[in-house]
Amino acid sequence: MIIGQDALPATGALAVATLGMTMRFGGFTALDDVSISVPAGSFHALLGENGAGKSTLVKCMMGFYHATAGQMTVSGREVQVPDPRAAHALGLGMVYQHFTLVPSLTAAENLVISRRDTPAVIDWRRERVALAAFMDRMPFRVPLDQPVRALAAGEKQKLEILKQLYLGRRFLILDEPTSVLTPDEADEVLGHVRGLCAAGGITVLMITHKFREVTAFADAVSVLRRGRLVGQGRVSDLSHADMAAMMMGEARLPAPAARTGQPGATVLALTGARALDRSGLKEIAIDRLEVRAGEILGIAGISGNGQMELMEMLTGQRPLSAGAMTVRGRPYHATRAEERQMNIRYLPEEPLKNACAPRMSVAENIGFRSFDTRGGGTRFWLAPGALRRQAEALVAGFKVKTASLDAPIAALSGGNVQRAVLARELTGTVDLLVISNPCFGLDFTAVSDIRARIMAARNAGAAVLLMSEDLDEVLELADRVLVMSEGRITYETPAAGADIATIGHHMGGHA
């Protein structure tokens, strides 16, 4: 399979390059003559919007797809990669966006079973010694004896990378490795990966949307747009604006809508609200929280500090053990009737899981708020024609990309599910909008589009409660910022003139 004179180097980072890589699916060219070169021991970033061809390129490199044309070289020699096994044998490995670890197995079991030569009877004492020796050579470690289910997202991502190294891979492709991590976790993981590259142990090609990570960790960057390589260069020579220009091409981002109007009367108020957290051991305690009409109240915090539980309290998924929620002074229990009467809408995080019926069609999902209403009352027989026309209008208006209105909503990409749910929730009068992590894992255009819609709802007089783990997002959108830490609101400041360092201290629970 290897055409060339010398054998590949036995250890250390591999240099990998593609030459004129082209991939056509029928008449559609997903990848058009892409040549990139990643020298041994370097950290290379691959930027591009959804559908730009990043995944197609790495799938060709890993042998999932057979490129229509083009070659690949490893350490300067041309190689053929008919399937992922051949890629693994060459020392190429990939860390996927979604975890491939087995949740109920411990970290040690996950590592040992992923090997190709696992013995029929596993001598755990010997494996443990070998694993300990392996861990000693690594810059970071994870607890080996806990089931993977119990690990935090950052630790799982570290374990995915450790698994690749344990399997002897020397060229790693990371597919949006930080999309499920908090900013701190992301920095830690990428810092270690960067260290491994600098030490000459591995070469990394990272698919990402995040400019900040490119600037902070990568040596060089390649930008794809519509299957073509549109820009390349050393990170030190490029600004964020340069990279954005390459990614976006001629397209213009919709500018964030300007803030207009003044906050009005209080819409949502929580007083002394208490509920148990996910573990059932600690308590979420919100003593006082008020959102007024025409303002966005942002709640910042590191994930796992009670934001998810607060969202569930507000959506009626988690019962309150004490305290009360009121909307415009009237008690509120998150029933469907109350939501309809008081014009309350939600955009929960992971909308596919929390706000959709995944296998029902796009049109049906868009109709969830209105399928049983007729004027002010309810209806018994559905009106399929009207539902369909409404869905058609909203899909066009919110630029939801879907093959058909009858496609199951689970078949849509993350950004399009988010747009579809937002289309449903922002239709009609909205007095209160409760949002959690609306832009998580979305690409550039989707993010600015969705933020603009949220701002527009605020300007139209809605009270907006925005929970986000992305501090930049909170600061960009919110009028007022609260910090949540260990299940409590610990800090409040107007967004204008907020001090990021102070907010950061409160987020970390150090104040």
Binding site: R85, T100, V102, S104, T118, A120, V121, I122, G280
Partner: protein, 306 residues
Amino acid sequence: MTDLGLWAVPVAILGGAIRVSTPFLFVSLGEVLTERAGRINLGLEGTLVFGAMAGYAVAYESGSAWAGVLAAALAGVIFGLLHGLICSLPKVNDIAIGIALMLLGTGLAFFFGTPYVQPVAPRLPAIDLGFWSGIPQVQAALTVNVLFLVGIALALGMAWMLRATRIGLILRVVGDSTDAARAMGLRPNAIRIAATATGGAFAGVAGAYLSLFYPGAWSQGISSGQGLMAVALVIFARWNPLNCVWAALLFGGAGALGPALQSVGLSDGYYLYYAAPYVLTLGVLIATSSPNRATAGAPGELSITK
């Protein structure tokens, strides 16, 4: 007969627990194996009844109780294979197929079993572990069938297999995440079929125990839902083979409560005591469920936990 007074009740319950628990143990171990690979086989009740019939018939025709056990295990493998293969087809629900096979198994057993209601087949041998005692009740309680000991050995072996062998880890990978299994180059369906077939064999042996040792005759009411209770017992045992031993003994003891109380002359409302295992099943399921969290230890690919 020595009069033990009220002591006769715990002694009889202990003896009953050992006698009655064996089928529970085998069926639940078989179900643990199947569920750890990610499938639920509710058809084990049918496998149990068919195994009881097949075991009894072959033991009677051949004159060897052990040949009967083997035949029952083979019948179980066939039912397991059938379940495994059908469930490997796209868009097939394992619970629905399980119920269908449960009805098929009992139906076939009644159909082929009618000629064997009268004849007497050889019984499985038992080991007399109560030889040291002079009390007949204790001796009777400690008359332990070989299959009970085999069941305990199987539970220990399975616990070891799931922890320290490649096949055990692969079984857990397949049961917990089909995607991860595929990424490793495993064939989840093949492994699930093998696990279901082996689980079926265990249930078949449980049936042979019923007809060849205790109660020791073939009749249509032989199982009275023990196969279904064993499936509930797997949840109670948290998919752990060693817990299955304790759970099976507990259920066996509950099943022996009625006869034990009757033996000391307490016969008022004894039908209520006969209901003890069923009440226990219900109680256990309610006590170990929670509206707020998924059942701990459940394999991730089970259709009821997904």
